[in-house]
Amino acid sequence: MTELPLIGEASTVAAEPPLAGARIGVVTFPGTLDDRDAARAVRLAGGTAVELWHADKELGDVDAVILPGGFSYGDYLRAGAIARFAPLMSKIIDAANSDAKLPVLGICNGFQILTESHLLPGSMIKNDHLKFLCRDQVLRVENSNTAWTVDYQAGQEITIPLKNQDGQYIADEKTLDALEAEGRVVFRYVGFNPNGSRRDVAGISNAAGNVVGLMPHPEHAVEAGFGPESLDGVGGSDTDGLGFFTSVLTKIVGGK
């Protein structure tokens, strides 16, 4: 169990019952950057954030897990390729594939780790324009039945930040066809494809819908005054990303 010092402590505000009973684990790998942000998002949604350390041998008492963004182990090899072998990852993979179907959300580097772990198909390569890109991105929620999207409407457009270097989603045509046929393309880029992702795919799920990965960052659009609307004034709202975190709480507490 890691202790996070100073600002952004994950445990500063106690959540209200009954949602507070929902415990969402946030994994920190060496090189993880957005772990405090993901924990804050869980708290703001009303849940309890639980800090998880990559080297932990057991998953412990959590109802869902978030793999946050960053550059795990520096991502010098291939994004997520080393993190996938962390001791805690094997527990997460087992729990995600178990009958209990542990909800797992991979954001950015977390998405990359999920594909490296084969919890999700396909892979991410360098952006087609070869640069790191930070921008506010409009997404369409294509599937509102996953563990992480039930609080959205299908077809709803949301604006959340995108920031990455290796965000181009690729998979073979057959996989892409299957993902589309099975409703597993959960998010699509709207208006502008920021990295050359195949078929504008921004995020996908596994067949059961408990594991979701996406490149943009919902945890950076959860608080008034600190989201895309306040920082960049691009429209939408500061809190379009909050639905990810309320969705999983709805799922856990409501037992949907």
Binding site: P5, A55, F71, K163, H220, G225, G233
Partner: protein
């Protein structure tokens, strides 16, 4: 012989390595001594040995001084230490006599919030509620020209370690950049490399990049300026100072291994005196590993949280030489270090090279024997390599041994603090009068000054598309401004704003500014103008300015003209700080920025930090609400000399805009009060590009237009429309006032006797910027011009 053992410190020279992990795969490296070690004993016996002091950058008088201090010739290792610590970069030998003014011209008002002043790695300012903030700006200019990516990346790395060394969690970075002419073929190389390096390194640390500057000018062609600022926050009790106290405490080096990078002159030592069996050329630019730095940050914060270190120092310029001598001389005694205990990337390094290596991502700490175990547990958790080098002594000497043989035996103060200090001759350049007499108005370049509505519209569009005034989003979109979730405002607003306390909303605002052209025309006032603008930018965001950090980028101090510019700039800055009541808490001097005998424009980059009790009250720069009143605060004179307009026409001469620091203070109070009491919804300061630039930027910020009429300003100030739009008179801002607040707001300005004029209203539906006397400007066309420039040149 040194092998790798685990966790042994009892022999004083053992080394340790972290537990196995996916990243740590060190093989046992066996040190093979391929060179003759120049011991202190040997040096005493061989006084006549020729040493390569000149190649290491020392002057004859400096070498003689070293011999005098030691009472014998220095050993090779000692020579390496002195040469690098007495360099201009580390010793400030040319600027020290002038920099003293920052410590002398200090009032009680300036001292009240200063917890740690200039001299430590970075000054510390009290934020209240038990919070403290530390920030510093530094240069990484020459490495960024030689190897732009790594130079800029390691610039970020170094400044961030300075912040960690104070016990703070870094929370944001900023980058003021100055490149050569935008259309010069080499500019793209430097620009692409530096921006990618800042992004590649900074983005991997999880630090939002919240602002900076970008200037193109051919004077920076061979000397781009890549400055880096970092800000960190801490609780008062966490302030750490770089000193080695307590006899028997252990000295530990941790982080990356020491390699041959960044050695520069040290290879001279290797090739000339000690070794002829290995390659003599070492890369002089350091190579960064942001992942190592990120882990180092977290690891240090965990050490601080557990109170596991007594003193800490980052390894930057001059590496172990600097860290050992500074820790020892700032402490209360001496230090004994076994150099073969240093973990190496390259086992062939000589003692001198190990002492001088500038390998990145390393820290040195002093740990009590009781905390050794807990310290090692933190290292193991984060898989950070470390080795125990020695301990603190009470001898007053810094003693460094190589397998037990003494190779350095010095008073650490003589290395770290008692370096040479020069009173370099300086004099007002002969050409200064001629430059100041050459005003823009009436010059050849001023021919055909726009006056008709169509000409003025074209001029405004040309201005906002010009290299220095165009949108910087091509750069800032390559930086992460969101990470951390505490960024409340970032580029292109006037200041970056970061929340510090999530409960109360307490936060800080930061801005950096410099105008090399103003400073060239008048160094004393030019430096003051840089401070005034940064101060104004911070106040514009609604924050109360509290502290200053400066990065003084100048040419060669051996040129009396340049030395005069430096002396005048420092005098100007220190005088202005007194008037504004904010202290300089740290900074950096970068000299020899010149190509041949042509120096850069004197470029004092000034960073101002301010405080917001609640970042929710910060004022953004753009208009949003339809029907709000737009006010121009301050008065406008005909001040076009040194302006962006004159620059676009290829003219540089005359006098920079007049400085009025009292007016800046009053304007600041108005902007801060208006923000606190909710009287304004937007504010944008006027600086480069004048009112024209401010109006266009306020409109483009959120894509909301306005109708503007300047007749009252023209009548009151006695200027024509062109001057009102393009003059760069200081102490001005444009604010957006809700109708319901107009009376309160104007009453406040009147009570303070500050000029204010209602110049227009926000017009959300129009999609245009309408200025009476100027042809209608469509926001779409302005945006295309404003945002098209950088992509056009850089892809």
């Amino acid at each position: 012989m040194t092998g790798i053992s685990t966790g042994s410190i009892t022999d004083g020279g053992g080394t340790a390595t972290a537990a196995a992990s996916p990243t740590a795969a060190p093989g046992a490296i066996t040190q093979v001594k391929k060179f003759n070690i120049d011991t202190v004993e040997h040096a005493a016996k061989t006084p006549d040995t020729e040493l390569p002091w000149a190649e290491l950058g020392l002057k004859q008088n400096e070498f003689d001084e070293i011999v005098k201090v030691l009472g014998r010739r220095p050993t090779g290792a000692e020579l390496a230490m002195y040469s690098v610590m007495w360099s201009e970069h580390c010793s400030y030998k040319s600027s020290k006599n002038h920099l003293r003014q920052f410590g002398q011209k200090v009032t009680e008002e300036m001292k009240k919030d200063m917890l740690v002043g200039i001299g430590e790695n970075a000054g510390v300012t009290n934020l209240g509620d038990g919070w403290a903030v530390t920030f510093k700006i530094e240069s990484h200019n020459s490495p960024s020209f030689v190897e732009p990516y790594q130079g800029a990346a390691t610039g970020i790395g170094g400044i961030v370690r300075d912040i960690i060394s104070m016990g703070a969690r870094p929370v944001a970075v900023m980058d003021p950049l100055r490149f050569g002419a935008i259309d010069h073929p080499d500019t793209a190389r430097v620009m692409h490399g530096a921006v990618a390096g800042i992004g590649g390194y900074g983005n991997s640390l999880g630090l939002p990049n919240i602002g900076g500057e970008m200037v193109f000018d051919s004077v920076y062609q061979g000397n781009p300026l890549v400055n880096a600022l970092a800000v960190g926050v801490m609780r008062h009790e966490d302030i750490r100072l770089a000193n080695a106290s307590g006899k028997g405490n252990k000295v530990v080096l941790f982080g990356a291994r020491t390699g041959g990078d960044g050695i520069g002159g040290a290879s001279v030592l290797a090739s000339e005196s000690f070794d002829d069996t290995k390659p003599s050329k070492r890369p002089a630019v350091q190579v960064g590993d942001p992942f190592a730095e990120k882990v180092l940050i977290e690891c240090c914060l965990e050490l601080f949280k557990g109170s596991l270190v007594e003193g800490i120092q980052d390894l930057g310029a001059a590496g172990i030489s600097c860290a050992t001598s500074e820790l020892a001389s700032n402490g209360d005694g001496g230090m004994q270090v076994e150099l073969t205990s240093v973990l190496l990337r390259d086992p062939t390094l000589t003692p001198g090279e190990i002492l001088m290596s500038e390998s990145q991502e390393r820290m040195m700490a002093v740990v009590t024997p009781e905390n050794v175990e807990a310290f090692e547990a933190v290292m193991d958790k984060w898989a950070v390599e470390y080795s125990w080098l020695g301990e603190v002594t009470d001898t007053g000497r810094l003693i460094i041994t190589w397998e037990g043989d003494v190779i350095v035996d010095v008073d650490p103060r003589t290395v770290a603090h008692d370096g040479p200090v020069y009173d370099r001759p300086f004099a007002r350049p002969e050409w200064q009068d001629a430059v100041q007499a050459d005003t823009f108005t009436g010059s050849v370049q001023d021919a055909g000054r726009p006056a008709a509505p169509a000409e003025l519209a074209k001029a405004v569009t040309e201005l906002v598309a010009s290299p220095n005034m165009c949108s910087k989003s091509w750069i800032t979109n390559q930086y992460d401004r969101y990470v951390g979730g505490n960024t409340s405002m970032a580029f292109p607003d006037d200041a970056g704003v970061v929340r510090v306390d999530e409960e109360s909303g307490l936060g800080v605002a930061l801005a950096t500014d410099a105008n090399g052209r103003y400073t060239y025309l008048d160094p004393y006032h030019g430096a003051q103008l840089a401070l005034a603008e940064a101060y104004r930018n911070v106040a514009t965001s609604g924050a109360i300015p509290m502290a200053v950090s400066d990065c003084l980028n100048f040419g060669s101090p051996e040129d009396p003209d340049v030395m005069w510019q430096l002396a005048e700039a420092i005098r100007g800055l220190s005088d202005a700080c007194m008037v504004l009541g904010i202290p300089v808490t740290g900074g950096n001097v970068s000299l020899y920025n010149q190509t041949g005998s042509t120096p850069i424009h004197p470029s004092p980059v000034v960073a101002v930090l301010g405080k917001l009790d609640d970042v929710a009250r910060r004022t953004p720069s753009g208009w949003r609400e339809d029907g709000q009143a737009i006010y121009l605060l301050g008065t406008t004179s005909a001040e076009l000399d040194g302006s962006e307009w004159a620059n676009m026409r290829g003219h540089l001469g005359g006098q920079p805009p007049k400085v009025d620091l009292e007016a800046e203070r009053t304007l600041g109070e108005i902007l801060i009060n208006a923000s606190r009491d909710g009287m304004i919804d937007s504010a944008h300061d006027l600086s480069e590009g004048g009112l024209a630039a401010a109006l266009v930027e306020s409109a483009l910020r959120y894509g909301v237009g306005a109708r503007v009429a300047l007749q009252d300003v023209l009548d009151r100030d006695g200027v024509d429309l062109f001057t009102a739009l393009f003059s760069e008179s200081q102490g001005r801002a444009v604010v957006g006032v809700p109708r319901s607040e107009e009376v309160r707001f104007t009453d406040m300005c009147t009570a303070r006797g500050f000029a204010h004029t209602r110049i227009g209203v926000v017009d959300a539906a129009s999609g245009t910027l309408e200025i009476n006397g100027v042809e209608s400007l469509s926001l779409d066309a302005l945006r295309e011009a404003h945002e098209g420039t950088l992509p056009k040149y850089f892809g």
